[in-house]
């Protein structure tokens, strides 16, 4: 019964996401455009072009998935609440955990799809060539490493108005991307920014994938920082949820 409930919920959430090309489009258009500009149009003057193309492909994949985790998820959650749909779900026997899991599942499948599209774009535009293990590992890292950002999106989802959520998540998203070295490598940014950036989830998220395409693997320190952010965001979510539901 529980398993079937979960599968039904996941199926419904997946359908909803796949049928909303708007979200998929926006999570792809900007990263792919950036990728095109900074690997084909602007001469970045890097020595190893192949290395840069692979590095920046990871940056843009992570940038896309991080954005959809924070913004798409957050804004959709606010929408569902303001439209009263959440309230309806709360009075049905569906456990809220199943509802929530369904959302995360739909989101993750969408991320998987985004990663595949952006990887394909990198291959087609620049002939980025990685070993099968590198493709697989970096892709999995980007999909799995999105967890802390989904938790952040969930926090955004507690906001009262779609406008606020959209504004706040946009600013957070852009700041995290810039300071985390997703738009340009962190080592060309000022020292202070670098020092802050190293502690941000966005840098550590990108870093895992960057290391994979250089033939390395994600660092334990980075994993711990990401898990730390995940724990903080989840605790905050739990606290806010309790407060909001104790009306």
């Amino acid at each position: 019964m529980k398993m079937k409930l979960l599968m039904n919920q996941c199926k419904a959430e997946l359908l909803r996401i796949l049928r909303n090309p708007y979200y998929v489009f926006w999570s792809l258009i900007m990263p792919i455009m950036f990728y095109f500009i900074f690997t084909k149009v602007v001469n970045t003057g890097v020595e190893d072009a192949g290395q840069w193309q692979a590095h920046y492909l990871m940056s843009m994949s992570a940038f896309s998935v991080m954005g959809s985790s924070i913004m798409t998820l957050g804004i959709r959650l606010v929408q569902e609440r303001t439209q009263g749909w959440n309230t309806f779900i709360r009075i049905t026997p569906l456990p809220s955990s199943v509802y929530f899991f369904g959302k995360m599942f739909g989101q993750t499948i969408m991320h998987l799809f985004s990663v595949l599209c952006i990887f394909a774009a990198g291959y087609l535009m620049n002939g980025v060539s990685l070993s099968p293990a590198e493709w697989l590992l970096s892709g999995l890292w980007i999909v799995a490493g999105a967890l802390p950002f989904m938790a952040l999106g969930t926090l955004i989802g507690f906001m009262k108005r779609v406008d606020t959520a959209s504004g706040v998540s946009n600013v957070l998203y852009m700041a995290l991307a810039l300071l985390g070295g997703m738009w340009m490598p962190l080592d060309i940014l000022p020292q202070t920014v670098q020092r802050i950036g190293k502690w941000l989830p966005s840098y550590n998220y990108g870093d895992g994938a960057w290391r994979v395409v250089q033939g390395g693997h994600p660092q334990w320190g980075g994993v711990l920082i990401l898990l730390g952010y995940l724990a903080i965001f989840m605790l905050l979510s739990g606290y806010i949820r309790k407060k909001q539901e104790a009306v």
Partner: protein, 303 residues
């Protein structure tokens, strides 16, 4: 009789204001009850507490003898709420099948399709593309998805056209005939009077009247007499004003109207006193008037 709903001294305080104030009532199995009251009377707050969406500040709510949030309560009840949109990007039949899957013993899909009143083609449309009234009808079907024993309907017919409204209440009557307990809120007096076998009248967070529509009417409706004056109307009015049994005098359409708590006594006094009147009529007030009276001056009618 089995108590489906028990409210015991329930209060709800919002920002220091008592939205619901010390309400107690029980609702028996198979009854159709209307929670009637103007906007801001505390109807929605009451319903939120019954649904376990809000916790009472004081007092206790029990549904089927259990707290409203209990799984067993969720499985046996259904609700149609106000301001609930539909899940976007799912087709009508997909939403119905999804919500059905939440319940252990759901109603048959065909029965739910029928409850929406939608054409077969509309069932295949995206739910967000339906008109406002059609969405309400879908909301009704979703409330029935679990084949509930207890049904909450919050202002269910707002936004429905006459045909849809009639079909809606026909379905509700059918459900009541099956022994289901139904509680609905409304500010349409006519609906409460036509559908419910019990009315709970709310005003400013308090329960100001509780009874069958007839009881409420007979207890609260103000009666009045009207007649035509014979001779000097001014002098007649001066005499009438001195009678204790008459509360108010007014002129309408050339007739003199007097309101009274006791029409028999008023008639006796008028005839034995030799007042110059003709064409005397006794007017029964309407429930609308009772409603207005109750909700405007709640303290005047408390038992």
């Amino acid at each position: 009789m089995e108590h489906v709903i028990e409210m015991e001294q329930v209060s709800k305080v919002f920002h220091g204001k008592r939205a619901v104030d010390g309400i107690s009532f029980t609702i028996g199995k198979g009854s159709v009850t209307a929670i009637l009251g103007p906007n801001g009377a505390g109807k929605t707050t009451m319903l939120s507490m019954l649904l376990g969406l809000a916790e009472p500040t004081e007092g206790q709510v029990r549904i089927f003898g259990l707290p409203p949030k209990h799984d067993a309560v969720r499985e046996r009840s259904g609700a149609m709420l106000q301001e609930v949109s539909v899940m976007d990007r799912l087709k009508v039949h997909e939403i119905i099948s999804l919500i059905r899957s939440y319940y252990p013993q759901p109603l048959a899909e065909e029965a739910l399709y029928a409850a929406t009143g939608l054409e077969a083609a509309d069932l295949k449309r995206y739910a967000e593309k339906l008109s406002g009234g059609q969405k309400r009808s879908l909301g009704f079907a979703l409330a029935l998805a679990g084949n509930p024993d207890l049904l909450f309907l919050d202002e269910p017919t707002v936004g429905l056209d006459t045909t849809a409204r009639r079909r809606f209440w026909e379905t509700v009557r059918g459900l009541a005939a099956q022994g289901k307990t139904i509680l609905f809120t409304t500010h349409y007096l006519q609906e409460a009077e036509d559908i419910a076998d019990r009315i709970l009248l709310f005003s400013r967070g308090a329960l100001v009247a509780d009874g069958s529509p007839e009881e409420i009417k007979s207890r609260l409706v103000q009666r009045s007499l009207s007649f035509l004056p014979e001779g000097d109307a001014g002098e007649l009015r001066r005499h009438l004003e001195q009678l204790a049994v008459i509360k108010e005098i007014s002129d309408r359409d050339g007739r003199i109207h007097v309101t009274t708590d006791n029409t028999d006594e008023a008639l006796r006094v008028i005839y034995t006193g030799g007042f110059a009147v003709k064409d005397v009529r006794i007017d029964q007030g309407r429930l609308d008037a009772a409603f207005e009276q109750l909700t405007l001056e709640p303290e005047a009618v408390q038992p």
